[in-house]
């Protein structure tokens, strides 16, 4: 018996088609489950639609300059609002976070799949899950009130001795707390679990035969990992990192505490300054009508950005040969 096009075929001397005859219960069941599945699609469409509708005021006033302007000023008339400064800050923080989280996450995943004993494997899996369970708010408080000061001397050192490197540049008399670098470090801890769990699932599906073959040929464990596990899981690493990037772009509360949320265009990530879309919206909650409309517009940009990132990431993870059955958290 084989299945094709939702029908069951039985191979006899003359193939006979057995129709799938759903009962009434099955029809209702099918209808209900499909409706539930479609709710998700409808919800996402509604999110985009309503953000667009409510941001009309802002777009009417700002027009296309909304995407080109850095400042956000509602105290002047006509108001000048733009998302560019926020957008650049968002992307900078997310990239710093992902750059820190990728090596750590891949390390954790490799440790779990190929290095740890059974006991340590359990401990580390729990640890990664726990990192994911801690609320963003607590990371934010910790980063803002404690970690920020602890990291400032490092920023100071880098800013003083590696100024020639664009991203470590500083203005005169710089302050080193509330910087995009520190925000990136804190956000990296939050996106690490998803990178670790996606890459782990992919690494775990490496065919054991190929791993054993690598070892049987006299390879060291690292040789086996480098020649078999990492190439096999490459798509998982890329997809997991992009999922992490999507999370980092949308990270809200921690970043709203960690950055001064003043929109600006700067590559000086070590210095005080910077803003992200999500954090900026969070701090302006409950503002007047026009500002709210502007926030909706900014939210729409953020929504489109994260949705695109996440969809591409999901497709990479799902399409890759190694990615079959990969679960995101």
């Amino acid at each position: 018996m084989m299945e094709r096009d939702g029908r069951a075929y039985i191979r006899t001397t003359t193939p006979r088609i057995v129709e799938d005859q759903p009962t009434t219960t099955d029809r209702i069941f099918g209808f209900f489950t499909t409706a539930a599945g479609l709710t998700v699609l409808v919800l996402l469409a509604l999110v985009g639609l309503f953000l667009l509708l409510r941001s009309r005021d802002a777009f009417d006033v700002a027009g296309w300059s909304f995407f080109k302007r850095v400042e956000w000023r509602t105290d002047i008339d006509p108001p000048e609002i733009g998302v560019l400064g926020l957008l650049v800050g968002t992307i900078e923080v997310a990239i710093i976070a992902v750059l820190i989280a990728i090596p750590l996450g891949v390390c954790a995943a490799l440790f779990i799949t190929d290095y740890a004993s059974a006991r340590w494997r359990g401990v580390l899996t729990g640890l990664v899950d726990l990192l994911a369970a801690i609320p963003s708010l607590l990371y934010g408080i910790w980063g803002w009130l404690l970690l920020s000061e602890q990291l400032a001397p490092l920023s100071k050192f880098l800013g003083r001795h590696l100024r020639w490197f664009t991203f470590f540049g500083t203005n005169d008399d710089p302050q080193f707390i509330q910087s995009m670098f520190i925000a990136g470090v804190v956000v990296s801890l939050m996106v690490l679990p998803i990178i670790a769990s996606v890459t782990r699932e992919v690494f775990a599906q490496t065919p054991p035969g190929e791993k054993e073959a690598a070892l049987a040929l006299g390879g060291t464990r690292w040789g086996m990992v480098k020649m078999v596990v990492l190439p096999y899981g490459r798509a998982g690493i890329v997809g997991g990192s992009m999922l992490g990037l999507g999370r980092a772009l949308g990270e809200t509360i921690a970043v709203s505490l960690l950055l001064p949320q003043l929109p600006m265009l700067t590559t000086h990530v070590l210095e005080t300054g910077g803003a992200t879309i999500a954090g900026f919206i969070a701090l302006r909650a409950g503002a007047d009508e026009f500002t709210t409309s502007g926030l909706m517009a900014a939210g729409l940009v953020l929504f489109a950005l994260t949705l695109a990132t996440n969809m591409v990431a999901s497709m990479i993870v799902a399409r890759s040969r190694s990615g079959l059955g990969v679960e995101a958290v």
Binding site: R4, D5, P22, T23, T25, D26, F29, T33, T34, A36, G37, T39, V40, L41, L43, L44, V47, F50, L53, L104, C107, A108, I112, L124, D129, A133, I134, P135, S136, L137, L138, I141, L146, Q150, P153, L154, A204, Q205, G219, T220, R221, W222, L249, G250, T252, L257, A278, I281, A282, A285, L295, M296, T306, L307, N310, A318, L324, G325, E327, A328
Partner: protein, 403 residues
């Protein structure tokens, strides 16, 4: 020395080799590579005592090097930078010394093992630090009052032990329960749709559920604000800033979380059970209801608890919906309502030390709740460990790949 290859009986001199010892070690290995010496093992993944001694030696040299550079030659890099630099130095030295002792191949392997193991274990450090910090700051001010009183009659300057957060706990409880009531049936049905039907729409729905689980939490709040509160707040109390709106925003967050976890669990239900049920003449609906869901009961409980844990700590969706209040309001359908994350977020940003302390008290309680929920998922998960650790099928026959 020349007759006994140092590869087999490593000399103590190389064991504690520091940077200065590298050159002499080089000579020994060169001597050991005579044609008459027995062929060494190709792969030596096991660490022997000499390796551990080497690691200690390299760690000490790295520390000393870092200390000299950062205290005497430059003006200091802060303890964090110091740790990072010393760690990298240690890896470099360890690689050099091992390469000298055992050759490049083994050295790369050892170095990878050390880097991966230490990198993975070091993940515990920020977690312990964070938890320790919140406990240290929050625990001293937790009193019985916190669980019985609200902030009525409390001025900002009063010590954090006065007044409480019972209104916040109450609000969190109601909002999360409501959110669960809204999202659980939908999430379960969606998961069943993804795993138990043969619809063509499963692929797009799965991709969109994935995308939705990455929806920024602030956007969920904005969405509810834009759809329900903004147009209707003038007309009806129910669509004002209240607990129900917060629950709706939270259920947008919870829905994909629960769906994904449940779907994974449903996939673990053996196909034989489904086939047996269908072969007995049961309908698909009956099979799901009486066979699949009961089999996956533990996993579904885990998914629910995970969803609760995720929702209870979410702050961003509440900023536009329930807003927060300082007094008791047990009616989620009318008037702004406090919840723990909002309580913490508002107090922690205030200038007065007493208010920050109050925020930390709330943060401690919030963390306690999240950690308890996490422990519960572990306990439930432990009951089906045998299923969980089963080796994944190599070629997963995923029906969602269209024929």
């Amino acid at each position: 020395m020349a007759t006994t290859p140092s590869r087999i009986e490593p000399q103590p001199a190389t064991a504690t080799a520091t940077t200065a010892g590298v050159t002499s070690g080089h000579v020994e290995v060169a001597v050991a590579r005579t044609p008459t010496s027995p062929r060494p093992l190709r792969r030596r993944s096991e660490f022997d005592p000499v390796d551990y001694a080497t690691m200690v030696g390299c760690a000490i040299s790295a520390l000393a090097l870092g200390w000299v550079v950062f205290t005497h030659l430059t003006e200091g890099i802060g303890w964090f930078g110091f740790v990072v630099v010393v760690y990298l130095c240690f890896l470099g030295l360890f690689g050099l010394v091992t390469a000298d002792r055992l050759g490049r191949l083994v050295a790369t392997d050892r170095l990878a093992t050390v880097a991966i193991t230490s990198g993975a274990i070091l993940l515990a450090a920020p977690l312990l630090w964070l938890v320790g910090y919140v406990v240290l700051k929050g625990l001293p001010n937790v009193t019985g009052h916190f669980f019985t009183e609200d902030q009525g009659g409390i001025t900002p300057g009063m010590p954090a032990t006065r007044g409480g957060g019972s209104h916040a706990i109450m609000g969190s409880l109601e909002q999360v329960t409501l959110a669960l009531v809204i999202s659980l049936p939908l999430a379960l049905t969606t998961a069943v749709f993804l795993n138990e039907t043969r619809s063509r729409l499963r692929r797009p729905v799965r991709i969109f559920v994935d995308a939705m689980s990455g929806l920024p939490s602030i956007v969920a709040g904005l969405f509810i604000f834009a759809v329900l509160i903004l147009p209707n707040a003038q007309k009806s109390e129910v669509f004002g800033n209240n607990g129900l709106m917060a629950s709706l925003a939270l259920s947008v967050i919870m829905l994909p979380t629960i769906t994904r976890t449940v779907e994974v669990v449903l996939r673990l239900v053996p196909d034989g059970l489904r086939e047996a049920s269908l072969a007995l003449g049961a309908s698909r609906a009956r099979t799901v209801w009486s066979v699949v869901l009961p089999t996956a009961r533990n996993g579904i409980s885990t998914a629910v608890v995970l969803g609760i844990a995720r929702a209870v700590g979410e702050t961003a969706p509440l900023l536009f919906t329930s807003v927060g209040a300082s007094l008791y309001n047990s009616n989620p359908f009318s008037g702004s309502q406090e919840s723990l994350p909002i309580f913490v977020y508002r107090n922690i940003r205030q200038p007065l030390a007493t208010q920050i302390d109050r925020g930390f008290t709330g943060a401690f309680v919030l963390m306690l709740i999240v950690l308890t929920l996490f422990a519960i998922t572990r306990l439930i998960g432990g009951q089906r460990r045998t299923q969980r650790t089963a080796r994944p099928r190599l070629v997963t026959p995923q029906e969602d790949l269209e024929p």
